[in-house]
Structures are given as structure tokens and as C-alpha cells.
């Protein structure tokens, strides 16, 4: 009786631990065993300063995908970003991808805006219309120094 009890309780303990781990890994940690159905697009940016792999992609404020990888293109001196877009999110071929910031000091994300072109982007295609990250410091220094030269 005692023996069965020990095994039962240990078994319950192990199950509890594994359940807690799975919850953390899958729900909070965002590890997925299978890939979310969707398609991958690429986009080239002049600057993506602050954007990270695994970052968020939003369209109209709704999360529609994640950034699957970021590479550097040595020929054109640009950043190549691979975007994993969820299934059921159609994007026109002239859709615009822009790097935006959440709040003033928040995290960088990619904002997708709809285009007007009838043809849709499919897996592996490139988004040509891109807007780079806006650097607050650059803007400030630009206004300060432009103001100086005009006077």
C-alpha cells in the first residue's frame, strides 16, 4: 500500500512539473512544435535599427506575424528581413512595410499597410515598398543643424 502511494504521488508530481513546463515553454515562451501555417516574405530596409528576430508584425494594430530572420545584405548595404505572415492575411503586391516603434521608447515592430494592387503576394516574394526605422536622434539633429544653416 505504502509502495503504491509513493509511486502514485511521484507520478502526480512528475505530471505537474511537466505540465508547468509545457505551459511556460508553449504559452509564455512561445516555443511551437509545429509552425503556424502561413507564408514567408522578404523585405529590404535601409535601416532596421532596434528590430529583433521574433519581433511583431502588425497590420491595423493586429498581430499578423513574426520576424523570422534578419540578415545583412553586403552588396546593397541593406537589411534583409524575413517576415512570417499568418495564413488568412492577404497582402497586395504594393503593400507597405514600415519599421515603427511602440510608444516613444517601446519595442520596434513592423507595420504593414494595405496597397491597392489587385495581385497578392505569395510565399517567397518580396515587399518592395519599405520605410526604414525613424531615429529620433537623427531627426532632432537634422532640425537643429538645418535651422542653423538657414539663419
Amino acid at each position: 500500500m505504502n509502495k503504491i502511494n509513493v509511486q502514485l504521488i511521484t507520478g502526480l508530481f512528475v505530471m505537474l512539473g511537466i505540465a508547468a513546463f509545457t505551459y511556460q515553454a508553449v504559452t509564455i515562451g512561445g516555443a511551437s512544435i509545429r509552425e503556424v501555417p502561413g507564408y514567408t516574405l522578404t523585405a529590404r530596409f535601409d535601416s532596421i535599427s532596434g528590430l529583433r528576430k521574433g519581433g511583431i508584425i502588425e497590420a491595423a494594430g493586429v498581430r499578423v506575424g513574426t520576424i523570422s530572420s534578419i540578415k545583412f545584405d553586403p552588396d546593397n548595404y541593406k537589411a534583409i528581413v524575413n517576415l512570417r505572415i499568418n495564413e488568412g492575411v492577404p497582402l497586395q503586391q504594393d503593400a507597405i512595410a514600415s519599421v515603427r516603434t511602440q510608444g516613444i521608447i517601446g519595442e520596434k515592430y513592423i507595420k504593414l499597410s494595405a496597397g491597392g494592387f489587385p495581385d497578392l503576394l505569395t510565399d517567397g516574394m518580396e515587399i518592395h515598398e519599405t520605410e526604414s526605422a525613424v531615429s529620433l536622434e537623427e531627426l532632432v539633429s537634422k532640425y537643429i543643424f538645418d535651422g542653423g544653416t538657414k539663419k
Binding site: 509513493v6 511556460q24 509564455i28 516555443a31 511583431i56
Partner: protein, 264 residues
């Protein structure tokens, strides 16, 4: 002059003993691995040790997890409120617990609850010559006594850590959302956004290392008690060996926590 020489001598003796004990501890790890690779494989002793190290620590872990989560919620709320970014509360609590506090606190709790009794048990077995009796009967004490404990530690501490983390997140939720009125969505979603798989993995790796380290140090302190000064002191020796084991394994946990954090 002679007192200076004596001081230097005692420093040297201290270093040699420390080195010797470290060597014995890691030698024990090698022996456990060796015993694992060789039959007979016995499963039930591991289950029994997991019951003792893991399942019986569950209440303690759940209570301390809730408490730590609540304390973190309280402190982070106070700090974040000053910068007007209370919505980061979930992220702060989750990262703090999953990366750092969960593994460390769990390991320290296991040291206090299970580690001390492992040392005492093995120490008493040693001074009452039960270990010698096992050897006389050609039963490997490493296989019979040590290996199940170390394996159980290796498995139980990560599982306990996961339970601790899970519970602590709800402790933080209770304080942040229910007491201070942080938006529920921003608590959970901030958490989900901030915590990556790497963070969970780091916590897991830490807890595995801690599990082995703690059980190994406690086992070797008790098992090799006869080789230290405590071995000739009977019951008093057991108590000093237990104290040593708890102090050493706590320090080992904290120091290796820093090392793993710095390397990862």
C-alpha cells in the same frame, strides 16, 4: 616566525582539504555516470528518491513560489509606478522569476529540505558502518545509495522549478492585477511578449545544473564523512557535516548561477 609559519601551514592545509573534497565530489559524479551505464538498472529506488526530494517538497515550493511572486509583484509595481510604466509588470515578474529567482530559490529550498537530510542519512550510515556492510555484501554503495539520489535530484529540481515559476507568476498576478489594478491583459500579454524560449531554456539549464550540484555535494559530504575531521566525532560530526553540506551547496548554487548567467 614560527607562528607565521603555522598560519601559512594552516592556510595550505585548508586549501588542500578544499581541493581534496572538490575532487571527491566530482569523482563521485563520474562514479554515478559509470554506475548508470552498467547493469543492473534499477528504477524503483529513483522513484522513491524522487518522492522524497521532489514530491514531498511540493508544498514548500508552492508556498514559497506564491510568496516570491507576490513580493516581486509588489516591488516591481512600486518601481515601475515611478516611471509610469506599470504595464511592464508582467514582463518584469516573469523574466525575474523564470530566468533567476525560480531556479535559485527552488535549489535553495531543496538544499534546506532534502539536501540536509541526505547528508545526515549518509553520514549516519557511514559512522554506523552500514556502508561497510554493503561493501562486504558486494553491493556497490555508489549504485545503491548515491546514484538514485543524484538522478532524482537531476529530475526533481527542474520539475520543482517549473512548478515554482508557474505559481510565482500567479502570485505576481494576484498582487499586480487584483490588488493594484494593473490591467489583466497587459500583465499576461506583457509576459508573453517579453519571455522568449531562450529564457525558459536558461532557467531549465540552471535548474538541471543545480539539481546535480546540490545532491552531489550533499551526498559526498555525508558519504565521505569518515575521511574528514567530522568522521571521528560521532553524532556531533554528523551535525557539522550537515551544516557544511548546506552552506557549501548554497554557495555552489549562487556562484554557479552567476557563472551560467554570464556564460549564456
Amino acid at each position: 616566525m614560527s607562528s607565521l609559519a603555522k598560519n601559512i601551514e594552516s592556510l595550505g592545509a585548508f586549501c588542500l582539504t578544499a581541493l581534496e573534497q572538490t575532487g571527491r565530489t566530482f569523482n563521485m559524479l563520474l562514479q554515478v555516470i559509470w554506475e548508470l551505464l552498467h547493469p543492473p538498472y534499477r528504477f524503483y529506488p529513483i522513484v522513491r528518491q524522487m518522492y522524497f526530494i521532489g514530491a514531498r517538497s511540493l508544498t514548500l515550493i508552492i508556498v514559497s513560489g506564491i510568496t516570491i511572486g507576490m513580493v516581486l509583484g509588489l516591488q516591481f509595481y512600486n518601481i515601475l509606478q515611478r516611471f509610469g510604466s506599470v504595464e511592464l509588470l508582467g514582463a518584469g515578474v516573469a523574466l525575474g522569476v523564470i530566468r533567476e529567482l525560480g531556479p535559485v530559490m527552488t535549489a535553495l529550498m531543496v538544499v534546506g529540505r532534502a539536501g540536509s537530510s541526505i547528508t545526515a542519512e549518509l553520514g549516519i550510515m557511514r559512522i554506523t558502518e552500514q556502508v561497510d556492510a554493503l561493501e562486504c555484501m558486494a553491493i556497490s554503495p555508489d549504485k545503491f545509495l548515491i546514484a538514485p539520489k543524484v538522478i532524482a535530484g537531476l529530475l526533481s529540481v527542474p520539475l520543482l522549478t517549473m512548478v515554482f515559476d508557474f505559481v510565482a507568476l500567479f502570485g505576481g498576478y494576484f498582487v499586480g492585477v487584483k490588488m493594484f489594478g494593473v490591467a489583466e491583459g497587459s500583465y499576461w500579454n506583457g509576459m508573453i511578449d517579453a519571455v522568449e524560449w531562450q529564457d525558459v531554456r536558461l532557467g531549465l539549464e540552471k535548474s538541471i545544473v543545480f539539481g546535480v550540484l546540490v545532491t552531489l555535494i550533499c551526498c559526498s559530504r555525508g558519504f565521505y564523512m569518515h575521511l574528514t575531521k567530522a568522521g571521528s566525532q560521532g553524532a556531533e560530526g554528523v551535525s557539522s557535516a550537515t551544516t557544511d553540506a548546506v552552506v557549501l551547496s548554497s554557495i555552489a548554487v549562487l556562484f554557479s548561477d552567476f557563472l551560467i548567467g554570464a556564460l549564456a
